[in-house]
């Protein structure tokens, strides 16, 4: 049947008053849990699952989808204003977004995040409706070796995008890679770097590390400066709304973020964070103002925020077409489908078209609701920054602690938060970048597992990495990204010296 007709019928389902109510409850809850660090959409959906036994399938799935989209939205608010990423997918947002907020540009940062999320959500949901079968066949072509090549490309491009000093950036990255080794190794079941402590067996939680590094580390840094701290935060400077220049710099970043985020979200082993990393690296590379990166470049907020919402829609591609959950939330939504005796997969589109198209249509509705809900609130949110510094940072510390405790009620987790907070403080004092630590923790284990899987399948033959066209191309791009800057530097002596000076910092 015609896709348009089906989508139209889906809209009729989604626009029923009761389903609109479920969507509204979903997006509100989702935004709330997205704001809280540690408590993510996955936990919320899981906790709501038993409550929805009594609801009809369409209504509860629409609510879950609302939570999912809302969570992706809410995470950006705390990243930008408080430097406390609520979800791992909004870590990158904190980099530029918080710098903007401190310069009184919190309003435009929140606005570009909200509108970017809306644009990305809209395009990606339409892509889900029209391209799902095609996208999924491409995603399935990715096996362990292709994923490994993708991770290599991510490492090269992303680490180049952070900071000016390669030495310092790599040091941070390797701290993150080492932290990524902690815990039970998936391939052999053996514990690594756990020092016989059972709480370390599951490895280090990304959100704990991110919240500690960003929020706790910064709080300590500000407190240690005391009265010597340079300037007070300026809550609002200039317009609360985006200027014409902000729009001009944002719209391309939104579209690029969408194009990057959607397919990566659809990949079974992609994940929303990866898309935000790539988007950040691309924006920095293409920006006409690369010098602003690290100081509050609006593209660095617009791109990654669009990417994480697009990947949220991307995640639904393999879920609906293959029954394949590629994120924690999607896994729990799958359990939600099964609770009604529905098996997502190739047959779902034909056996339950109203439900599938109702869900897709309600994503469009939820997306619209979110922007209506969020844009007017920006003025209110920004006022958070008018709170006097000691109270503001005291509040951030409490907020970070509560979020961590809420996600995992254990004393050990809290101790980790503090220890990593101290580490974040130390890195700040000695001018090491923070983000590569978190990037290492996320990408390291993925790259390692994929490489080992690829080599296990090939029985140890390394050539297998180059015989697949996709991985060969990705590795070639990575090599170019690594070598090209070196070649360019070598072309002029003066520039070489400048580069060396920047490197040794």
């Amino acid at each position: 049947m015609d896709t348009f007709l089906l989508l139209w019928q889906g809209l009729a389902v989604a626009l029923q008053p009761i389903n609109l109510l479920y969507a509204l409850v979903g997006v509100t809850l989702g935004t709330a849990v997205g704001v809280l660090p540690g408590i993510g959409p996955a936990t919320t959906v899981a906790l709501l699952l038993p409550v929805t036994y009594k609801l009809d399938p369409a209504g509860s799935l629409i609510m879950f989808a609302g939570i999912y989209y809302g969570g992706m939205y809410g995470g950006s608010t705390t990243s930008i204003l408080l430097n406390t990423p609520g979800e791992s997918a909004s870590i990158v947002t904190a980099l530029e977004g918080n710098k903007m907020a401190k310069k009184g540009r919190g309003g435009p940062a929140l606005a570009t995040a909200a509108i970017g999320s809306f644009v990305a959500g809209l395009i990606a949901t339409l892509a889900l409706a029209f391209l799902a079968p095609w996208v999924v066949s491409v995603a399935l072509a990715f096996g362990p070796r292709e994923y490994f090549a993708l991770m290599v490309l991510a490492f090269v491009t992303v680490s180049a995008a952070f900071g000016d000093s390669a030495l310092r950036g790599l040091t941070s990255l390797f701290i993150g890679l080492t932290l990524g080794l902690v815990g039970i190794d998936l391939q052999t079941g053996q514990a690594r770097l756990s020092f016989s402590h059972p709480s370390l067996l599951d490895g280090i939680e990304v959100t704990t590390l991110a919240v500690a590094m960003f929020a706790v580390g910064e709080t300590l840094y500000v407190a240690a400066q005391g009265k010597r701290a340079p300037e007070s935060i300026e809550p609002v400077r200039g317009s609360l709304w985006m200027s014409a220049r902000d729009w001009a710099r944002s719209w391309k970043a939104w579209l690029r973020g969408t194009v990057i985020g959607f397919p990566i979200g659809a990949m079974p082993a992609g994940g929303a964070e990866l898309g935000t990393f790539f988007s950040y690296a691309v924006e920095k590379k293409l920006s006409k103002h690369p010098e602003e990166f690290g100081e509050g470049a609006i593209e660095g907020v617009a791109g990654p925020e669009a990417a994480n919402n697009a990947s949220a829609a991307g995640t639904l591609v393999p879920l609906l077409t293959l029954g394949l959950p590629t994120s924690a939330t999607a896994a729990i939504m799958l359990a939600g489908f099964q609770q009604y005796g529905l098996q997502p997969g190739p047959l779902l589109f034909t056996s339950n078209p109203q439900l599938v198209w109702g869900l897709i249509a309600s994503l469009l509705v939820a997306n619209l609701m979110l922007i209506v809900l969020n844009l007017p609130l920006i003025g209110l949110w920004v006022r958070l920054l008018t709170i006097p510094k000691p109270w503001l940072y005291g509040g951030i510390l409490m907020f970070a602690t509560l979020g961590t405790i809420g996600a995992n009620p254990s004393v050990f987790e809290l101790a980790m938060l503090l220890v990593f907070g101290l580490l974040g403080y130390g890195l700040r004092v000695f001018h090491f970048p923070i983000a590569p630590v978190v990037v290492g923790l996320i990408l390291g284990p993925m790259a390692e597992q994929q490489l080992r899987r690829a080599l296990a399948i090939s029985q140890g033959d390394v050539m297998v990495l180059f015989t697949s066209p996709i991985s060969a191309v990705l590795l070639f791009l990575a090599a170019v990204a690594l070598i090209l800057p070196l070649v360019l530097r070598a072309q002029g002596r003066g520039r070489v010296l400048a580069a060396v000076a920047a490197d040794s910092d």
Binding site: G189, P198, P325, L347
Partner: protein, 316 residues
């Protein structure tokens, strides 16, 4: 005044039976929300309250390390408390061994085995492996050439692959097992023909089998399973039965009466309509086994699992 007393008495009389009969329970799922143990705990919560067996049931999640973190915490906190229960199963047996967990299932009181799921071996529809005999022949010729995709190392899927090889006369250590984290990554690898075979619970592969993208070549059940279109391991010439079972335990230091009361409540739950409906929608088998029979079964399984994990090389 008289009226008031009568009303108070009446209210008391009505409230009393409920208060005496319905015990409160707090069930720990030693895993993150959404997984098998969490679903079991929440299904129990639903059935116990819907059937009026218990007035108030709480579910708590303590995730980590194949359930061993939750188990250690439970053994300490639930000592002598008849209202505390923990869900666990076959995966925990393996995890305790591979993690060298300090607190084992000896530290808690077994109540009953509740549910089970059989393992299936699947191949992509286009695979040249058509039968279990084909798979065994390929394994015997070159064990490394068969890559198996399943869940984490030392889990039920890995153990089943090891047992399959051993029963078929192939060295389990030579099994080329590729562990994928949960959430369908293994399914994606089989669908994309990245690996030779996939091994997991039928639920993971069901929709793709029904759509004709994957083919079941073997089921770890003792006899043919109605909903699964494929032969048992035994029919395919490999005499092996494996079931990924889940069960429930209570805390240590309980009196015989307390254990009997909990067992009676759980038995009532298992025989209820609500529970039967849950098993049906989730595709779980009823594997009810309680008391000494469960204890004896548990001891046998721990022994067998230790042996195969040693054979695979995960445990020394």
């Amino acid at each position: 005044m008289k009226h008031l007393l009568a009303t108070a008495f009446l209210a008391g009389a009505l409230a009393l039976p409920a208060g005496v009969m319905a015990a409160d329970y707090s069930i720990m799922a030693p895993a993150a929300p959404g997984g098998g143990w969490d679903q079991t705990a929440r299904a129990m919560q639903e059935a116990l309250t819907a059937e009026g067996i218990s007035g108030n049931v709480q579910v708590t999640n303590v995730p980590g390390a194949g359930g061993t973190i939750g188990l250690a915490q439970f053994a300490q906190e639930a000592k002598g408390d008849p209202s505390r229960l923990i869900v666990g199963g076959y995966v925990m047996v393996g995890a305790i061994l591979t993690n060298k967990a300090p607190v084992t299932l000896d530290a808690v009181t077994p109540i009953a085995r509740l549910t089970g799921e059989y393992e299936v071996i699947v191949v992509p529809a286009a695979s040249d492996i058509k039968t279990l005999a084909d798979l065994v022949a390929k394994l015997k010729a070159d064990p490394g050439s068969v890559s198996w995709a399943g869940g984490s190392a030392g889990g039920t899927d890995h153990i089943t692959a090891g047992l399959f090889a051993k029963t078929a006369g192939v060295d389990p250590k030579a099994v080329n097992y590729v562990a994928f984290s949960g959430g369908g990554e293994a399914l994606a690898a089989v669908l994309g023909s990245q690996v030779t075979v996939g091994i997991s619970g039928y639920g993971e592969f069901q929709s793709q089998v029904e759509a004709g993208a994957l083919r079941v070549i073997g089921v770890s059940a003792p006899e043919k399973v109605a909903i699964i279109d494929g032969p048992t391991f035994k029919e395919g010439g490999v005499d092996l039965v494996v079931q990924n079972w889940r069960g429930v335990w209570a805390g240590p230091d309980l009196s015989a009466e307390q254990v009997a009361a909990i067992t009676a409540d759980i038995e009532k739950m298992v025989n209820s309509e609500t529970w039967k409906k849950t098993l049906e929608t989730k595709g779980w088998n009823n594997t009810w086994l309680a008391g000494d029979a469960f204890k004896a079964q548990l001891a046998t399984e721990i022994e067998a699992t230790t042996a195969i994990l040693k054979d695979i090389g995960l445990v020394e």
